[in-house]
């Protein structure tokens, strides 16, 4: 059994495989941000941060922090050689205009049509959408990286019940249980974590789960 950190790293490592050489990628905060640590050797991937930079580098050493260089979580970061800063209008022009190849976000719910809810639970928790609605509409490929269930309750559903962040937006979902493509036919399981029997994955999914004829193990 993986602990929470191992589970998150397992998901992040698998998402990182999706990032092709020469692409521009925007990672959400939390689990998605871990993906940067697992980009396969030899692939040059540029990371954008919607608060206004391209070329996000590693976290700076404590004695080398510039408080004016931060990520979308407000945390100090570094910028790689060849990086650049810009204002929010350019940043979201890049996002809305389809210049971001991949965005990786977390979700509260995803429907089999690719609808996604991840910005509020009415009456309880209302953080806001930040840049998520623009990223979901603008990025060429949307990957959801999240745990498969929330305290046992399915997050992959026939219909989302929470307010939507975007409709028909999600392309791929990576959880600790498997890799699920969102297709016209619905959720298709293309890879599974052998730790979980297929029946358990189906039971943890709140919508029909089509098993791909090319199903393989998650690496």
């Amino acid at each position: 059994m993986m602990d929470k950190q191992e589970m998150q790293e397992f998901i992040a490592r698998r998402v990182a495989q999706e990032l092709q050489d020469g692409t521009l990628v925007n990672l959400g905060i939390g689990l998605p941000a871990l993906v940067a640590n697992f980009v396969p050797e030899g692939r040059s991937v540029l990371f954008q941060s919607e608060n206004g930079l391209i070329g996000l580098g590693p976290t700076p050493a404590d004695d080398n922090i510039d408080l004016s260089i931060t990520n979308a979580g407000g945390k100090p970061v570094t910028v790689l050689p060849g990086g650049c800063f810009f204002n929010s209008a350019i940043s979201f022009g890049i996002i809305r205009g389809g210049h971001v190849d991949v965005t990786v976000l977390g979700a509260l719910q995803v429907s089999e049509k690719g609808d996604i809810a991840n910005y509020m639970i009415p009456g309880k928790m209302v953080p806001g959408m930040g840049g998520a609605m623009d990223l979901l509409n603008g990025a060429k490929k949307v990957i959801v990286a999240m745990e498969h269930t929330a305290k046992g309750a399915p997050k992959l559903l026939t219909e989302c019940t929470l307010p939507l962040t975007a409709v028909n937006a999600v392309d791929l979902i990576v959880t600790e249980m498997g890799v699920i493509e969102v297709t016209y036919e619905g959720f298709v399981l293309t890879e599974y974590n052998p730790y979980f029997p297929i029946e358990e994955i189906k039971a943890a999914t709140g919508a029909p789960l089509i098993i791909s004829s090319a199903l393989k193990q998650m690496v």
Partner: protein
């Protein structure tokens, strides 16, 4: 030509009931000392337009804690539990706006455009009550321009005529808010003489800036 004023003078330019735009992203690129000056003056019933509501002890979040807003327009309030409390208890009106829409609405307000046509928000609660326009077979949401009475901005460096430069990710919303407000006050970390910023390096033209306060070390 010299636009330098004191924090007290700056605070006196803002009135109860005003709509204010404040630059910054999670309190990075936010004019902290201007915010302190407004809090000291005890302004009330303001409307805030800002990317987010910062933190309880940093950025515009301090003004949220001081209960200075009747309405907040922002893309994210999740880092300030007090904003969430005021929203859930019905004390403050909060309008959540997608970040890319918010900056374009401000730009449209400052640049004389009639609105913003975006796919962002289609099919969500954001589209409620708004016009949807079909262009070349695709639906777009019409989002209206935003303007404010006063903009409070941050800059890394200002010359005395108000030309501004930035460092790192402190630009964010600052460059366009100056165009969209009737009165613009900039807190600059460094202030230099006219001519000391190369015309090629100016990020915000001085014509957008009415007043400057010194935000650096004493």
């Amino acid at each position: 030509m010299n636009k330098l004023i004191t924090y007290e003078e700056a605070a006196n330019l803002v009135r109860n009931g005003d709509t204010i735009m404040v630059g910054g992203f999670l309190a990075v690129g936010t004019p902290e000392k201007l915010i302190d000056a407004l809090i000291a003056k005890g302004l009330q019933e303001l409307t805030l337009i800002c990317n987010d509501t910062g933190f309880v002890d940093r950025g515009v979040g301090k003004m949220v804690v001081a209960k200075m807003f009747t309405k907040i327009m922002a893309s994210h309030i999740g880092t300030n539990r007090e904003t969430g409390r005021q929203l859930l208890e019905g004390e403050t009106e909060v309008e959540l706006i997608p970040q890319g829409t918010l900056i374009e609405q401000i730009r449209a307000g400052g640049f004389g455009l009639g609105g913003v046509l975006t796919k962002t928000g289609l099919g969500t609660e954001v589209e409620k009550g708004k016009m949807i326009i079909n262009i070349n077979g695709e639906d777009y949401l019409l989002e209206k321009p935003l303007r404010a009475n006063v903009a409070l901005l941050y800059a890394e460096k200002a010359d005395e005529s108000g030309n501004l430069t930035y460092h790192g990710t402190t630009r964010n919303f600052n460059p366009y808010m100056g165009a969209a407000a009737d009165l613009v006050i900039v807190e600059a970390k460094e202030i230099v003489k006219v001519g000391e910023i190369s015309p090629d390096d100016v990020i915000v033209p001085g014509i957008f800036v009415d007043h400057i306060v010194y935000g650096g070390a004493e």
